[in-house]
């Protein structure tokens, strides 16, 4: 049988990285939430916060473990799957990944130990601080890896000699043009993802009539957060798109399925892009809306897909639909969060059961938003692996297709098992509820906890 090694290497990489990003999207936000709960606990001395913190820590532990092991896979796959890319871009990208390991991974991994196992051994302030350190570590990790990825989208600060990129200006490399937008957008996406999971769990408890106190706390915290961050994501995303238009106009054309650059762009709510004929079928569009968003003028022009040969275009359908899914989720998040805030203001949040029911089933939307966003970004960059420097087809390793296909099958199998068990266990922890989980983890001797309570009381009196 004949396997196309490039296609398989891409499929394998896409599969493993999509699997990986599911967990950072959750752990980046959740670690910050744990730290927040910890600070609230120390300041108020209220045990509800402590229970919530320990409950979410258990869930965090399971997710974090899956994030770590799938991340280790990726750091080696860059070499196994993209060895020629490693040679071409290694001088520039290597140090960025190296800094991620030294500045972030060790920090996360070590303080995770304190967070998971230190409750009985360290004073409460150190316990809470380690949650904050882990949260900081995850954000630093996102900083470096997104800088690396952004450089692949919008490379600057390097010079090319003999087809190899040499670093010229590190600041320009790290703070390349798309990086600030991507960092802000992704970090915000991670906080939103976690926010909606917490919201869903809180709503689930209220609907079931269990753990009412904890459920209400979660609901309030999550709505407070997402009501600010969801609209903010629209603003960041809009700016992000304008920046992409400047540096990767063909990606934007694919996002909008905009073929003819001589006409203003419509915003297609739905369309079926036909990549051979270079037109859309079944269009349902808002006339000139894309031009208005992207150029701020009704009749503004921006490049169309037809302005470059077909071999230089990304796969239009994938990018177009993934973009629409992300937008739909973005607007749903705004609506859900603002409506929740409105109910809260009216004082009927905890009684509006249909709203709680809907939210209880919406825990997954952040993950799908993140994945579709990345598909837009990464597939939209095609046919380049490093925009304008190296084509994906020239980046692969000298490994036969059959080998890649075999290992891809192994990955699908192994990750499938891990994923379903992970979801199952997390769901069971949630079903058990905060009090039971917090109590179960506490075979601890009475002294540290009362010490903790004393500390909390002291803090309260001050």
């Amino acid at each position: 049988m004949d396997f196309d090694p490039v296609l398989l290497a891409r499929l394998q990489f896409a599969f493993t990285i999509i699997f990986h990003i599911i967990f950072p999207s959750f752990t980046i936000g959740l670690s910050a939430y744990l730290a927040t709960l910890g600070v609230l606990w120390l300041r108020s001395g209220n045990d509800r916060y402590q229970h919530l913190m320990r409950f979410w820590t258990r869930i965090f532990a399971v997710s974090f473990a899956m994030g770590v092991v799938s991340g280790i896979v990726l750091s080696y796959q860059i070499g196994t799957n993209w060895s020629r890319f490693s040679v071409t871009a290694g001088n520039v990208l290597g140090p960025l990944l190296g800094y991620e390991v030294l500045a972030a991974f060790f920090l996360e991994a070590t303080f995770l130990g304190v967070l998971l196992f230190g409750f009985n051994r360290v004073p409460p302030w150190l316990y809470v601080m380690s949650a904050a350190v882990v949260a900081t570590g995850t954000a630093i990790s996102a900083f470096w890896i997104l800088s690396a990825n952004s450089w692949m989208q919008t490379p600057t600060g390097h010079e090319m000699r003999d087809g190899i990129a040499y670093p010229a200006d590190w600041l320009k490399i790290i703070f390349n043009p798309s990086f600030p937008y991507r960092f802000a957008h992704m970090l915000n996406a991670a906080y939103l993802t976690t926010g909606f999971v917490v919201l869903a769990v809180g709503a689930r408890y209220l609907v079931a009539g269990r753990h009412i106190e904890e459920g209400r706390t979660m609901l309030r915290m999550a709505i407070g957060l997402t009501a600010v961050l969801a609209p903010l994501q629209l603003v960041i995303g809009d700016q992000h798109g304008l920046n992409t238009l400047e540096h990767q106009p063909i990606k934007v054309a694919a996002m909008e399925a905009h073929w003819d650059g001589n006409k203003p762009g419509d915003f297609h709510i739905f369309a079926w892009p036909d990549e051979t004929a270079g037109v859309n079928h079944f269009e349902l569009s808002i006339p000139k809306a894309a031009s208005l968003v992207l150029t701020h003028r009704m009749n503004g022009l921006f490049p169309g897909l037809n302005s470059v040969p077909a071999s230089d275009r990304p796969p239009v359908k994938i990018v177009f639909f993934a973009f629409r899914i992300m937008l739909a989720i973005g607007f749903f998040m705004i609506a859900a969060a603002l409506f929740g805030a409105f109910l809260w203001w009216r004082g009927t949040l905890f009684e509006t059961r249909w709203y709680l029911r809907v939210m209880a089933h919406s825990w997954w939307i952040g993950f799908v938003g993140v994945i579709s966003g990345w598909i837009v970004t990464e597939c939209g960059r095609q046919p380049w692996i490093v925009h304008g420097i190296l084509r994906t087809a020239d980046a692969t390793s000298p490994v036969p297709g059959a080998t890649i296909a075999g290992t891809l099958a192994l990955f699908v199998l192994a990750y499938g098992v891990v994923f379903w068990f992970g979801i199952y266990y997390i769901n069971r922890l949630i079903a058990q509820g905060p009090r039971q989980v917090a109590a179960e983890t506490g075979h601890f001797s009475p002294s540290p906890i009362s010490a903790a309570q004393d500390a909390g009381r002291e803090a309260l009196q001050r």
């Binding site: 399971v62 290597g94 991994a109 070590t110 130990g113 998971l116």
Partner: protein
């Protein structure tokens, strides 16, 4: 090109690899010894002795890989495709043993995750040994890229190295348990340590004879004069350390057997470095052939000099925090 930069980097990566082997070695070793535990309480004790550290330990593997990518991208680009299958098998094995820590804790029936933990640890170790062994034998390179086949790694020597490493990590794990646990777990570990020590010595002898016999460049390195005058102490010291370790195990010491095992590993490592320096990809690519440009190496070196001491500082802190023995029935999270 500054000739010393690649040497500094070779040293940095060398240190990362040593740290990885010593630290993740003992926690993979716990997995290797897992099938010999009799009940859940023993197994809990074993995992608890490493639970706060395993993630940090594995991060050295990431540092080694990332360091190779940073400092020697061309070696990275040859080694990874050459060991495509063993590397991916190792990674998948690490996936299973890594999540098994958390999953066996939250699942009702632990059997499945016990098996995943033991098998994952053993398989990952075996794959690492195979990669190392095959690397020593040399891999074919043409135009700066790997030019062999997908199954080139499966040589008798590489497989022997795989098995040897299982014995080696097993010994690290057993002496760790002697140090960190008490009761039946520690007793059993002491017995295992003796058997494994013999196995490790046997493997060291086999590997030390096999390589010079089949690789002329290794023979020339060790047995030519004047090298031999400087090198003969390496095997002698190794023998002395092994003898002491045996004595210490007999004398029921807690900490010294673990230290002796680490010393054995360092000596074996030293032997490998002596055999292969300055090749990163024997027998063709040296540290200088594969180095990244000085600008990249310097930029990363600055960060390493600044950050690595901090990293080591808080790693010491966490080992200190969880010092002492794990008792039977102590809680997990």
């Amino acid at each position: 090109m500054e000739w010393y930069l690649p040497l500094i980097w070779a040293a940095v990566i060398g240190i990362a690899v040593v740290m990885y082997v010593l630290l993740d070695g003992f926690d993979l070793g716990i997995g290797i010894l897992f099938p010999f535990a009799e009940n859940e309480s023993e197994r809990d004790q074993m995992t608890r002795s490493i639970a706060p550290y395993w993630d940090g330990n594995e991060t050295w593997l990431v540092l080694g890989g990332a360091g190779l990518f940073v400092a020697f991208p061309r070696a990275y680009a040859v080694i990874m495709p050459a060991f495509y299958i063993p590397v991916i098998v190792m990674l998948l094995a690490l996936v299973f043993r890594g999540i098994a820590f958390e999953f066996r804790h939250v699942s009702r029936s632990k059997t499945g995750w016990n098996i995943a933990f033991a098998a994952g640890s053993t398989l990952a170790t075996f794959a690492q040994g195979v990669i190392l062994g095959r690397l020593i034998q040399g891999i074919p390179v043409k135009d700066g890229a790997f030019s062999g086949g997908s199954f080139d790694w499966a040589t008798p020597f590489a497989l022997v190295c795989g098995l040897s490493l299982i014995a080696g990590y097993g010994l690290l794990g057993a002496t760790w348990l002697v140090m960190k646990t008490e009761g039946p777990v520690a007793e059993k570990a002491r017995a295992h340590a003796k058997t494994l020590l013999m196995a490790v010595l046997a493997s060291m002898i086999v590997v030390s004879l096999w390589t010079p016999l089949t690789e002329p460049r290794v023979a020339a390195r060790w047995f030519s004069l004047p090298n031999f005058y400087f090198l003969w102490p390496v095997p002698v010291v190794t023998a002395v350390v092994a003898y002491l370790e045996w004595r210490w195990l007999e004398a029921r010491r807690d900490v010294s057997p673990f230290l002796a095992t680490m010393a054995l590993f360092l000596l074996g490592y030293l032997g490998l470095v002596i055999s292969n320096f300055p090749y990163l990809v024997p027998p063709s690519l040296t540290v200088w052939d594969t180095a990244a440009v000085p600008a990249s190496q310097i930029f990363m070196l600055l960060g390493t000099l600044l950050l690595l001491p901090i990293v080591i500082g808080y790693i010491v802190f966490i080992y200190w925090l969880f010092r002492g023995k794990v008792r039977e029935g102590e809680s997990y999270h």
